[in-house]
Symmetry: C2
Subunit: 620 residues, 2 copies
């Protein structure tokens, strides 16, 4: 059999299996799989270098299905590679099967989850950055993209960054099947327009017929020759190609073929078969990585004033000195987040992502897929730009460290557009996430170091303003813990705060001490997981609790504390101080006070709980 | 004085005032203002058509400062237009001043807030859509963009959509001052690259020296001639131009000049002056809008099975029949969200935004700025893509209606990438937002109608699966209310649910009724504001409460209920059922059960609360 005939046979099998699996499941995306079957057949059996027995091999190529809804095709490739049985293939989309509706790393050969469109190429940029600048290995990153998803701005962030960083090791295979979910795309089969756009951003563009196997092969060979320029292969295809009853027809997106049609299509394609491909393995090269040393964190003197963002920069630099796998990214504000300290100390491990927060998070996902430990930072407010990427990173089971600076109204004069006021809510509601919010520099440094060891999406919220150092450098702050800043047996109320409001809480506690009211102060630096035990104990012992936070009233520390207390008996009298009216500009002090979260308001809330103690307190 | 001399004088005043205001404030962005001063002088005194005495005039031009940090320049323009006094100008960035650090519609001449970069052009697309397709008025939309923000993918979404929709009434003025916050941009002064990119997307591009007043004037005249093609004016400028000590220098982003330098710069620019410009008014043309009629909402029969997303489509279409200002947008999934019903019935008022959720929300912001009532829909999961735009829309005091379909694990086989599991948390944490989550078709229809009247950001969460119709078509569901589905004096527990879990709650209630346990069921369709009174009453009367929701455990209905109950006495025994482990694929029923939020789990939770009632219940 000639090479072309082999590929044709393999492509037919990929099509057949895509149809069989989806029809068996009763749902899924066969037509989106069929358009790319020829593209993937030639890739699998001719260009991909991947050891399916060793999916963690550092020199494996990377294949990202950015059009994740074509997962039947991907799983059919796994069958052709001999790692998924025909029976397993037919478990597609059933409970407990790792063959989910969209690819997720519950399979060893899937590195990142896709299914929210426009993310795969941006993640591929991260992998290619790792290949070119860190691993310095010849592996190639192949991203299969759909034409519909080119409407996502994140794709153009990826395209710009790939060219800027000279990622010749990145290839985008664009499956231009003309049809989206609800109808034609904006450009339909105008492949010259795609090519012109890609070229204007500095890419090499190759236009081909995506069903011409020889042309596909030539295009891949051309891409493999690239060194400093990323290549996009713009393949004109027909959605549903190979299944005549649905080919290039509207209203067939995301629908399984009925059983009769499926049988007809499979028969026309030559029936089910069990071709197996010997996928070419990568050269056995591995990156050299220095062993990790023990970190000497910065130490700050109690009583000094140091912004937690400043400590983030110091600690990250210290970590970088001893952990060669730690890398940093920032969204063009590294002189505000202080990621610049790391950037200056270890320029080879710093990636400037400019004002492209989606690309920043995606690159971090790509870098961690190669075993790096990325810290990505920008203003907390601007991480909202990347929320879909953060959400999907959790589906990817990625280990990310994110830092959002300039949290809350306490940033002052710049006004509400720059204030992170929803970041705690956003980050708490990410599957398996950790949310940290330190109040002083020593605590920040400890937490920055702990983040490196923590799995999942770990978020650190830092403050613009300088705050007093209140903890000794050797104090420990375990994730999931809290710090009881002041406590006594006589405490009649508790204030729970974190970050900037912790200092307001201390001032309020001191004021009230002068009035003979003893108040416990808890620093809830670990917002998720939160220290349920300490909070419940305080609720039980003091009977009254105030939460003060520099965040909208919803979804942040107040909600976290309530959830921790929900089943506790007795439940304390409770007041939640948070931002409830859109702030404007002003000094940090003015804005904290205007938002009702300053020391004065905290003290007032406690007095008010004292005043209403009465018989209710006794009955508890 | 010649025209050019007049402009030069005006530009000098704009520079002087930008410097004076920021130095007085002690913070702000003078250098970013100075680079665009010449561009804005010629615009204000020669091309902008705007009635400053009638900022709501329907035929006013629109000026969006996408580079919102250049607000000192904008406010200096307002002074030159005679609507802000010199004394007011010097209140910049102080508490209570409407001259905030970034523009916000607390000033009558600012329509939308900016300050999160990359949003202005996308909002301008919405305004230009209104002008061309709805108002059919000749006003022009001018957007001042910075070169740094061109790295945001959302800008390219805007560029693509503007060309696709033939928005010749949109002009982007790109201030290429070469320097971002922390250093040079990727392209620096490579204006041909910007031009090539814009042209590849179908724009007309004009490259000019942004300090050549005659060239600026000619470029604007060229833009004004455009009919079907948007024009980008790529102006090479120098950051800080006119203040020699900072001009084209790094490390001067976002810093006020020290007093001495400021005085020197002002003196060199000819000192403070009070030039006033008679800005050209628009022709007095107004759009014709038919008066609103009264809506005939769809009615569904109790017992039928209808998906709430289906009811969204029906109700939106019904609303569109009588409310000519209602418009709809969708992100290429209108056959899933059912916005397609509206699209088919009123194609002239429907805007397909393709897979570009940021652009979708931004266009809605632009449309509402012109008095339209936009409903924008996509999968709940994909609204996360636009979170920064939604956050900023709240700062814009925009009135938006957003619909997120396919909420929760109950979507079934498609898997976690498509499941909205953080949308309630995300939307609750938007300033002044409303969050609605209906469980049946009649309720959905009522809420869709109510949304039209509601200010701020209003979010409706719909469900993929069909659910039983349980309410009569004439039942009312006020925002802020709840529906008590079942209640008696004998109730020993309460279940609070919404959307799909409400039906699970009813099943659980029926099961428990068979066991002699009377359970109250509350439909919390209004998640924010939530019906505190009814929840507290139920807590007090039944003493035990279970919340069940198809959402991550953080920030959603459970947290909302706890916040409502926080100060209630006595506090009920409480269990929160929510999604706590990353789901996979499966049938909706399987996934609801696997997540622990099915009827079986709800009944189990209530039994468990009953078992632990004991003396604690009595003491309450």
């Amino acid at each position: 059999m000639s090479q072309i005939e082999q590929w044709r046979e393999l492509a037919a099998q990929l099509r057949v299996d895509s149809i069989r699996a989806t029809t068996q499941a009763g749902s899924g995306h066969p037509t989106s799989s069929l358009s790319a079957a020829d593209l993937m057949a030639v890739l699998l059996d001719g260009h991909l270098r991947y050891d399916f027995q060793d999916p963690k091999h550092p020199n494996n190529d990377h294949l990202v299905f950015s059009k994740g809804h074509a997962s039947p095709l991907l799983f059919a490739m796994f069958k052709a590679a001999g790692v998924v049985s025909d029976a397993e293939l037919l478990t597609l989309r059933t409970l407990g099967s790792p063959l989910e509706g969209h690819p997720a790393p519950v399979l060893p050969w899937v590195e990142v989850a896709t299914g929210s469109l426009g993310q795969g190429l941006a993640i591929g940029v991260g992998m290619a950055l790792a290949g070119r600048y860190l691993d310095k290995l010849p592996y190639r990153v192949w991203v299969l993209s759909g034409d519909s998803e080119m409407a996502e701005g994140s794709v153009w962030e990826a395209i710009e960054h790939a060219a800027f960083y000279k990622l010749g090791n990145l290839t985008c295979i664009l499956d231009v099947n003309r049809l989206g979910q609800r109808g034609p795309t904006m450009l339909e089969w105008n492949t010259p327009a795609y090519a012109a756009r890609a070229r204007s951003f500095g890419w090499e563009a190759v236009e081909i017929d995506g069903h011409d196997l020889a042309a596909v092969d030539r295009a891949y060979a051309q891409a493999e020759k690239a060194t400093d320029v990323p290549v996009i292969i713009i393949a004109r295809t027909r959605k549903g190609n190979g299944a005549a009853m649905v080919e290039d027809k509207e209203n067939w997106h995301g629908k399984a073929l009925p059983k009769d049609d499926a049988e007809k299509a499979v028969a026309a394609l030559g029936g089910a078969r069990q071709v197996t491909v010997a996928v070419r393995k990568p050269d056995d090269r591995r990156p050299s990585r220095a062993p990790a040393g023990s970190v000497a964190l910065p130490a700050y003197k109690i009583g000094d004033s140091v912004a937690t963002r400043r400590a983030y920069g110091d600690a990250l630099k210290a970590l970088g000195a001893v952990r060669p796998e730690v890398v940093a990214l920032d969204g063009e504000v590294n002189n505000s987040t202080y990621a610049e300290d790391f950037a200056k100390a270890y320029p080879a491990r710093y990636f400037e992502m400019y004002i492209a927060e989606q690309q920043m998070v995606a690159a971090a996902v790509g870098l961690q897929a190669r075993g790096y430990v990325p810290y990505a930072s920008t203003f907390a407010a601007f991480l909202t730009r990347a929320y879909d990427f953060i959400r999907m990173a959790a589906v990817s089971r990625a280990n990310l460290r994110l830092c959002g600076s300039h949290a809350g109204v306490s940033i002052g004069q710049d006004g509400p557009s720059q204030m992170g006021l929803e970041d705690l809510a956003m980050m708490r509601a990410v599957g398996g996430s950790t949310v940290l919010y330190p109040c002083d520099a020593n605590q920040t440094a400890q937490l920055v170091a702990s983040m490196a060891e923590r799995g999942g999406i770990v978020y650190l919220r830092t403050t613009r303003e300088k705050t007093p150092v209140i903890y000794a450098p050797d104090q420990r702050f375990p994730i999931g813990g809290s710090a009881v800043v002041r406590a006594s047996d006589r405490d009649r109320a508790t204030v729970v705060a974190a970050g900037i409001t912790l200092h307001e809480a201390i001032t309020a506690q001191q004021t009230l001490a002068g009035e003979g009211i003893a108040v416990r102060v808890i620093d809830a630096y670990s917002v998720k997981p939160i220290d349920q035990r300490t909070l419940r104990q305080a609720a039980s012992e003091t009977g009254a609790l105030v939460v003060a936070e520099d965040h909208w009233a919803e979804g942040g520390l107040g909600d976290a504390v309530l959830a921790a207390l929900a089943a506790s008996e007795p439940f304390p009298r409770f007041i939640h101080l948070a931002v409830r009216v859109m702030p404007g500009s002003g000094t940090p002090e003015e804005l904290l006070d205007a938002a009702g979260i300053s020391a004065r308001h905290i003290a007032g809330a406690i007095r008010s709980l004292m005043a209403h103690a009465g018989p209710a307190q006794v009955s508890r």
